[in-house]
Assembly symmetry: none
Homo-oligomer: 425 residues x 2
């Protein structure tokens, strides 16, 4: 299948492709799983499409950040886009805020937020407020109602998926060095917000954040939606838990750095947020959930469509990561099988360097990210073909790419589309 | 064999191991040896235990410092412990001094030392004073007798193995930029000590070191032990040759850096010294020599015992390096065979990530260290299994680790025992 309109004119024989598709299979890497006969879910899955791509392409393993460094999804994606997380990342908040639609400017402080339930005893009864969703009305009320002008702080507050939201402070002399009020488990009182260093900026931000939590709690506590929930016996969304404070850095726009426009397809606001902060557009797709029930076929259609417009596209498929966090090897294997089937339209994408990789491993035995290298394959015009015929962890380690690092991946792909600059003469 | 006491309680099924054993086979790597049919000694040796570990584990090759960099044993071990030798290493002296029992503080200058024989003609007759040993009485006499208070320098001098010793200077404004008096071959006069830069510190240290050599020579020349040796027709230990000057740096303790206690098992004072400077305990073992006649079985028993107490253990086995330096491929092959047999108790060590590697190659054809990468294998719970079935240089190069660098090894192992910190969210 061609993604270009074949009626226009025949495609000339190209010596190099012109477009790059990064297909990031979130958390795809794993460790041997006893219940899968000591295979990894990727090794145990039937993956004819990925195997065909591996056979026709070049494979390797990749340390998204560096060997032995356990990446977050945020730092991993920054690294894959060629931005050094050690210099541009102070916390997940600004990326979540950007993903929720708040425009983050350098110096602004962003936070991840959850709607939660504060019991009458003063303890957190539910960290997700009964898995509340569609909270836009509440978020608008909070954003309009909270007044931090005493601190010179302008507040932005937006709903994310489900019980999630994002908060941003804009003002002079703010710091990300402030603690969270999230006790991380239910039945405990919310924690007091504290400055994490003795700077005036941290102390001011800490006081402003405590004030935000106070005022927002009052607004939510008396909001009609919560009264309705209480009347219906549902858990109220009457407190906001914040965490992941980070200062928005200055990131050179992707288009300036690499000379090409790009876009992101992801159900996760974190990933679209990372895209936004470097100037990558976000392509919406109906029915994507960031879970194993996502609309994979719709995503792949959107990707082939987006490549008509954007020479660079990053598509993240999240479900395998979720299965890893949940410690479910069979579910992870089966979802990988579903991913593979949905990828068929990508297997003969023309004029495109297709890169398939993970952002990190999420071993079912660890139920969290690990530093185990991820498999990577590169497919398309000009790619050297190695002997690897299977897209799995140790198979790919025998491939022609050997072991590479995350920040190397985009430069390698750019070279394959003839966009690398010659250094020297 | 379990290293835990099976009488206490059954071991739970662990999702990750909790302990790390680094087994460093010193100088194990080699180049093809004509007398071994162009195999390396490791390839030519029968190594069923190492091969079983390789088969069940993941293999690779490793540049202990970086590709093409020929490591010393000292810089290699610092690198394997995750300390950058380029920033913390100025010479071997401080490590030898620490290994000999001198407590080195940051800013102190350490030197390697040899007892040697100065002929009546003023030339070095024997750089090892007839391979003198048990020199503690002489060293005490030197340490007590030499007075460098004129330079504000406090002298420590301790015996090492055989003719070896270590010297340390403590005082203000000292430098490691001073030359050696060792002419490096016999029949030549000792060299004059010179400052290696024009700083006041180097000039002062140079004068103090020359004074040390002068005073210690006088003390040794009239010592009863040397009179007895002369009477018996033995070579006198009447001059101290110094080399390897280095300034003790500030090294973050291993336990603070990695959150775990650790220990070292090695016959070489250099290796135990490296351990000491980063706060690793030294486990003594009877009958270990650092040579091919060492007590391998005792070492392995000590290792399994030490793992009851220490979650991190580095064990160095030195003999193969010696055979490489001596240019003896058959001896190296045979010693590797002996190592392999002795390792049997480690092959089913539970709850442990076992890492087997070299610190550098010592090719018999070079008779010195080379930059050829060393083989490495990692065995234990959670490790991805590759197709390598033989622990040898080029076999391991086909493994699932691909090619890694020395400073990556400990982070990789820490991730496997779930002690790596997540960077990001």
């Amino acid at each position: 299948m061609s993604v270009r309109n074949k009626e226009v004119q025949p495609i000339p024989v190209l010596m190099t492709a012109h477009r790059i598709l990064f297909l990031v299979l979130d958390g795809i890497g794993d460790r041997p799983c006893p219940s899968l006969g000591d295979m990894t879910p990727l090794k145990a899955a039937e993956t004819p499409v990925l195997d065909q791509l591996a056979t026709a392409g070049v494979c390797g393993i990749m340390d998204t950040i560096a060997p032995g460094i356990r990446p977050g999804s945020d730092t991993a994606h920054l690294s894959l886009l060629g931005y050094d997380p050690y210099t541009c990342y102070t916390g997940r908040g600004p990326l979540e805020a950007e993903g929720s639609g708040i425009h983050m400017e350098p110096g602004m402080i962003g936070f991840r937020a959850n709607y939660a339930t504060l019991d009458s005893s003063g303890k957190i009864g539910d960290r997700r407020a009964g898995r509340i969703h569609d909270t836009a009305v509440l978020s608008n009320a909070v954003e309009r109602g909270v007044d931090l002008s005493e601190y010179g702080v302008k507040v932005s507050f937006r709903s994310g998926a489900g019980h999630r939201a994002a908060l941003a402070f804009k003002g002079e002399g703010l710091s990300h060095c402030v603690s969270s009020n999230d006790p991380k488990s239910e039945g405990k009182a919310p924690l007091e917000i504290r400055p994490l260093e003795e700077s005036p900026a941290a102390m001011k931000t800490s006081r402003a954040l405590a004030e935000f939590i106070q005022q927002s709690g009052e607004i939510l506590g008396t909001h009609p939606i919560n009264k309705e929930r209480a009347a219906a016996g549902e858990k109220q969304a009457n407190i906001i838990l914040v965490r992941g404070a980070g200062e928005m850095g200055r990131l050179e726009p992707f288009s300036e750095r690499y000379g090409m426009r790009g876009a992101v397809i992801s159900a996760a606001s974190l990933i679209t947020g990372i895209g936004r902060v470097v100037g990558l557009d976000s392509i919406p797709v109906q029915g994507i959930t960031g879970s194993v029930n996502t609309n994979l076929e719709g995503k792949v259609r959107a990707a082939t469509g987006a490549l008509e417009t954007y020479p660079f596209l990053l598509m993240n498929i999240k479900g395998a990561d979720e299965s890893g966090h949940d410690g479910k090897p069979e579910q992870k294997r089966d979802f990988i099988h579903r991913i593979d089937a949905a990828l068929a339209p990508l297997s003969d994408l023309d004029d495109t360097i297709l890169v398939v990789c993970g952002d990190h491993s999420t071993p079912c035995s660890v139920k969290d990210h690990s530093a185990d290298p991820v498999p990577v394959l590169i497919h398309g015009e000009g790619v050297r073909r190695d002997r690897v015929t299977r897209f799995a962890e140790t198979d790919c380690a025998e491939g022609g790419l050997s072991r590479i690092s995350g920040p190397s991946l985009l430069p390698i792909a750019l070279d394959l589309v003839n966009r690398s600059k010659k250094f020297g003469a």
